[in-house]
Symmetry: C2
Subunit: 399 residues, 2 copies
């Protein structure tokens, strides 16, 4: 099951940038061991738990096993080195320099495991004035131009993305890099390597394709703020907000007919594609005035009928009941003892031959400590001693 | 060079969701042939060109070769089938059903190439009421809850992300899936497979980790809008906008000292982490009043000194000159004949053993048509006949 079946991942990351990437690998079949401090990583403490696991932690760590161990102790170090010797991938997102001080720098692990793929995620890169700063989503947004991109079109006031976008784009970029490195390792006869990435670089790369178009050509630099195409294409129907848009002539014609404004078809400001762009503001305010006369269901049906791209703006409580999302089976619902029904977004890439699966719920802190130590050959009494000595936390028995 | 060296990719995608993913593969060493209609794909026509290539097209297609061919003609079909027989990856983002009608459905290509990894990107999935709708960024945003996430915190009015976020997250998700499938193919003795993904599913998966926390547990569903942690952490200093934030006690202490408001250290509303969360609104407005008394450079230096995470809000014209971005060498500048200096965001994942590189600029339409046909064994006179008959466009000679 899963394209990464058989791949062993040691995930020492915390919060979101690392964990979500490791979770993608788990969804694709990798055996991911989440190594946590005895008190659990920070994300466990960000919201109230349900059955020992808060919902955001769940959605960043499903499918993994948890080992809670004191990595400062000799016994903890030994456990980690044994795990690393047998792993394919090692992931860490501590501040630059920290993992070396902990005793698990690349050189140390590589000695025991030449094939190891070693991934280091930083906030800002490994040098430069911010390198040692705490990674903090608004700071990455500030430095990557995100707040400029989101700036209010009327007042110019900068605004932020309302998601921790840098963390999540970094997680995707990391998982992609790991998968490519796994492929390269197969081709190169087992050679591992170090992959480094920063959240700041990741955001620049993410914004660049269309968001930084003004910076591409040295000879033709232009202020990108001038060309912010995307307005909020949001209209208020009588009862709710919708989106609708007309780019092609056919779509514009359809929109006019749906709104019973065939007279607009003659309007020279709008009857070419270029004209509709130039006169966008006027077109939008005229359209808004017509749409607000209709009930959303009625006008959306008319738009659909006429081939005009449109949709209701769904709030998050409505999502799971929408017919398109039901048709796609986009949300997986699974019953787990203790949790009850758990909903997760389906892993988006659907592999026909090696389907992704969510193998297990997110782990409770240290849930798989005994199981993992048994796999490493630690006998029951040694495990108990580690627990009694406060080197290993097993807050839940494996099921 | 590059972890995907030797991988051959046929990229039939247009606009952004497909092309940017294929570009990542090219950055990582894959030989990517962009197959376009004779008039060029839509993205070529979205802005004014410079040396034949507009800047957004450039940033979605660098490192590829371009073949412009009439795929409706028998000769064009034959060329594509020959290329597919020798490719590792085939990528397409036409509307569901279209690629089969064009004659290049998976079954057809798989006959000639059992190892082919066949990637299909759709907007909304392959069934359901929106499946045949035109993919349109605002519609994906509407259906995925994006406009709810971005809603104004005061008025509740929905707003949109100002980037084509669904396209770009889809491109990352696609590239990751292709890399995993390449790995799986190595492990399985050469078996290819079909990977399908929709932009809508991709956005749900992307938002889920923290953006949909209220939907995770059936027994504990809550309205996620209540828990929108992330405010706009934006302050106006005398001369410009900055961000600054204090989560830990140490950071809060540092902020009070930097602002010369040691008296706040005694304030019981703020001297615990929980208190600072509960009284966030008040704390933020008090902080804002202090920050606006300072010049940005001075207060940012004081915050840095005190270990308070902070940064100026950079607009996109300032980015390339910022010391952190210079320290990271995040922006690659290359001179190409005809283009002059071209700037691109560095591929974010830095592979130590198999470094990514931007092998060539984005191609002009059909630039590599002759080169590619020569590789397929077409002689000069056959190529000329295809051009004369209007089946092949070679608007530029390969360099």
């Amino acid at each position: 099951m899963g394209p990464l079946k058989g791949v062993k991942v040691l995930d020492l990351t915390s919060m979101v940038s690392g964990p979500v990437g490791a979770m993608m690998l788990a969804d694709q079949g990798a055996d991911v061991i989440k190594v946590e401090p005895l008190h659990g990583e920070q994300m466990r403490h960000m919201a109230a738990p349900h059955n020992g696991v808060n919902p955001a932690f769940y959605s960043c760590n499903r499918g993994k096993r948890s080992l809670a161990v004191d990595l400062k102790s000799d016994e903890g170090k030994e456990i980690l080195l044994k795990l690393a010797a047998d792993a394919d991938v090692f992931m860490q997102n501590f501040r630059p320099g920290a993992i070396e001080r902990m005793g698990f720098g690349e050189e140390v692990l590589r000695k025991a495991n030449p094939g190891l793929i070693y991934l280091s995620i930083s906030g800002f890169g490994e040098s430069g004035p911010y390198a040692q700063s705490r990674v903090y989503d608004p700071v990455i947004q500030a430095l990557s131009g995100a707040t400029d991109i989101q700036a209010d079109r009327t007042t110019g006031r900068p605004q932020m993305f309302r998601i921790i976008i840098a963390d999540k784009v970094t997680s995707l970029t990391s998982a992609q890099a790991v998968s490519s490195a796994l492929y390269a390792r197969e081709k190169s006869g087992g050679q591992g390597q170090h992959i480094r990435l920063s959240m700041l670089d990741t955001m620049l790369a993410f914004f660049w394709p269309e968001g930084m178009a003004g910076l591409v050509y040295g000879e033709r630099e232009f202020d990108v703020r001038r060309l912010q195409g995307s307005q909020d294409l949001i209209y208020k129907a009588r009862d709710r907000y919708i989106t609708a848009g007309a780019v092609s002539d056919a779509e514009w014609g359809g929109m006019c007919r749906a709104l019973n404004r065939e007279d607009w078809l003659e309007d020279e400001r709008f009857n070419t594609s270029a004209g509709r762009v130039v006169n966008a503001q006027e077109r939008k305010s005229m359209t808004a005035k017509e749409i607000e006369k209709w009930d959303s269901e009625e006008i959306l049906a008319r738009f659909q009928e006429e081939g005009v791209p449109c949709a209701p703006l769904l709030d998050r409580m409505e999502l799971m009941d929408h017919e398109q999302i039901i048709a796609n089976a986009s949300v997986l619902r699974t019953d787990y003892e203790g949790f009850g029904e758990v909903r997760q977004a389906r892993p988006a890439a659907r592999f026909e031959q090696t389907p992704s699966t969510i193998a297990r719920p997110a782990p409770k802190l240290g849930e798989h400590g005994r199981e993992i130590l048994t796999e490493l050959g630690y006998d029951e009494s040694t495990q108990q001693k580690l627990i009694d000595d406060g080197k290993l936390a097993v807050s839940a028995e494996p099921s």
